[in-house]
Symmetry: C2
Subunit: 441 residues, 2 copies
């Protein structure tokens, strides 16, 4: 993408109403723009990050055997009356009356709707187990929206729902999502630790929050640093194997991790002191089993293999997709701006033409841009007629992993400069070598 | 995807409330499920079709230089007061009051919001021209929602907005989108003819509706069959060339095409009789220029090259993404069900195991399924223990382009059967040849 034809409204000012660093940087780097309290438009590079996160979530859900569909944002109040939650839900629910005076709402979550959809179609043990998910905008009318997209009102969430014949099956569905989450967050280049959360109706151990460590986090967290050694992408757990999944769960459960809500000082004291990590964290995912809460209240039954009828055991599994953009920035930034992990960066490379008014320099940059594109390297090409300093500041604040800097003096010597954003390391090398490195990186 | 682990609730019954064939087939084939009047959940195969259509729209917008972002669904009433449309818009606007008694609405379109976003960031002629687009859910509170997703209340739309310094630039932006639309619809395997629509504020010729021909269409249409000979994907028009774009526009404008609203009998009579096509059609896109309507009312100005200030010339360009699913089915079906064009089919191949209880047959099918996957062929594998007749009916109604049928008798002879859904043609051939054909098709 040529910056001269793009829409990237970066600003130098730090917005007054932004309290935390991710909110400031998202506004400064032109990722989002607030359009109403707690509601944001995703500007082009913010949108690209959001899509990359969404796609990683999707791929890991698909690998875990979850099936994607898409439920609408507007729901009928009657649906929520079936579960009894319509009156119980607080003022966070955005309630709407349509032109025919029917009571509607903007879905804050989808347990009722997925239960109704699956209830009307699944009648037999052959239709189970299934985990269905969607990635859709939700609305929660927060009384005081703040922290940018971290506590907005309209937000993008992945929510999956599992249906099983019995508790044993529900456990395996839960373990499957647990592993999918570990792999999802690892692929994004961040560390999200599953922490025991307040227990659900069945099995007190089947509720975990996934927490990204960051100073601005809303919770205090305590965890065993043994977690840090695991590579969940590489772990040889077969989603089809109950034994593998159970072993994984035991492994995760065996390492202490809790927020202040569930913290247990006695158990904490048993963790070797050198491995105790304390800090603050941001919740980016939550998984839990809730048994037959919705299947029973909404009258969903399926026939078992021996001809009986049961209410399926359910679980739900959320990831805050838009919130993750903020959480990743909280975990990945420095004084100059965002430092995107490769997997979620809006572009991989920022190509900087130091002298757009120099025909030789422009021609060399055009050629590099074309060849980067041909090699499949996503490149933002700053071809504008601006001073180098301004271009560096823009590239630093938007945080692309690599900067490729081309100036007339270097070109005379056959040299370009490659800078890695995270380390600040700069290397002078030939254009050919730079291309090779970026294509391989 | 193995059907035994998928969620595909096909039904034999024809739903009573469905009046048109696409609505009936979308319900029967398990593409959607109504969750409230005019509001639908997209079940897994419906979701896949929706995503394919969305992706074609996105790729063609990107090729045409439009820049993607994403605006939220909920908007502030104040924004619409800036343009004067808040009070003017009828009861189709879903008006909402939040917990702080602020007036909000579910966006039916985004002219106001995009103007506000771009106004606050673009100040100079260097920031123009730009065309920005998003693909987002909209809501129009239709008094009588019907025809399934064709006239639903919550619907997915691509809407693009162009900003230019002058009318000449606005014309080129319009021509660019015109070509992008011709290419978009052609890639989907349907014929959508641009028809002159009621004229906008500047240049009476800069307003076209794109109409798919179908008996259930809401409009009567008249067009010159000379249209049918063009291959817009192959046409050598460079988006960067004003000359190319103008020639394209003249070419399109030179061929008669109008709905009953703009029909001109005198001009129609000049079309050679053999080339006159009359019928009914469904609107799937609309493009138009509207000059400075929003930039002036909302106070957007940019500095010109000579230091003056102008209100940018704008245009908007919509495609009904969810509506297209219905429109394509209206144009592509037969008595047995949907006949998807390849580019938007949820899967390319339906692999049918005629005898799931026969180990040799199951093993041959498993092997074919694995190899189709390795060749990148999207396959829905009916591995269920059902009778062949039911499997054929399911595959026919969901309309995948190819069916690969494997039975024990054929296997003994080293033969499988390949059926093309559109023509009904069946060929017996070796598994090897079938794989080769499907990978190449």
């Amino acid at each position: 993408m040529r910056l001269s034809r793009y829409f990237l409204p970066v600003t130098k000012e730090t917005p007054a109403d932004a309290q935390i660093v991710s909110h400031k940087l998202m506004l400064r780097a032109g990722l989002v723009r607030q359009t109403a309290a707690g509601i944001y438009a995703w500007l082009p590079i913010g949108f690209r990050v959001l899509k990359k996160i969404e796609q990683i979530v999707r791929e890991e859900q698909d690998k875990a055997g979850a099936i994607e569909l898409l439920m609408p944002t507007i729901q009928s109040a009657d649906l929520w009356r079936q579960s009894g939650r319509y009156d119980a839900y607080g003022p966070e629910m955005l309630r709407i009356t349509d032109r025919h005076e029917r009571e509607m709402l903007y879905g804050p979550t989808n347990e009722e709707m997925i239960t109704a959809i699956f209830r009307d179609a699944a009648k037999s043990y052959r239709d189970l187990p299934r985990t269905l998910y969607h990635i859709q905008w939700k609305f929660r009318d927060e009384v005081r929206p703040r922290f940018g997209v971290m506590r907005g009102r309209e937000f993008l969430m992945k929510d999956a729902y599992s249906f099983d014949l019995d508790e044993e099956g529900a456990r395996l569905s839960y373990y499957t999502q647990l592993l999918a989450y570990l792999r999802t967050f690892q692929r994004m280049g961040i560390k999200a630790v599953p922490m025991k959360a307040a227990s659900g109706p069945i099995g007190g151990d089947l509720s975990h929050e996934f927490i990204v460590l960051a100073q601005s986090g809303e919770s205090e967290v305590f965890y065993d640093s043994a977690f840090d050694g695991f590579d969940w992408q590489q772990s040889e757990v077969d989603y089809g194997s109950a034994e593998d999944l159970s072993r994984l769960f035991d492994q995760v459960s065996g390492m202490y991790a809790a927020t202040d809500e569930t913290h247990d000082q006695a158990r904490w004291n048993q963790v070797p002191e050198a491995r105790r990590r304390e800090g603050r964290g941001i919740e980016v995912g939550h998984i839990f089993s809730f048994g037959t809460k919705y299947s029973a209240s909404m009258g969903m039954t399926v026939q078992t293999r021996d001809g009986g009828q049961v209410h399926p055991q359910m679980g739900s599994y959320g990831i805050g997709v838009s919130r993750l953009v903020g959480a990743i920035i909280e975990a990945c930034h420095d004084d100059n701006g965002i430092v995107w992990p490769d997997a979620v960066a809006p572009f991989k490379v920022g190509l900087i033409n130091m002298r757009a008014d120099d025909p030789a320099c422009a021609s060399a940059c055009d050629d590099l841009y074309r060849r980067l594109g041909a090699a499949g390297v996503e490149t933002l090409y700053d071809d504008r007629d601006e001073r180098g300093g301004a271009k560096f500041a823009t590239m630093d604040v938007i945080g692309l992993p690599w900067q490729l800097i081309v100036g007339p003096k270097g070109l005379e010597k056959g040299i370009v400069e490659l800078k890695q954003r995270a380390t600040g390391e700069r290397h002078e090398l030939s254009a050919e070598s730079a291309l090779g490195r970026l294509a391989a990186a």
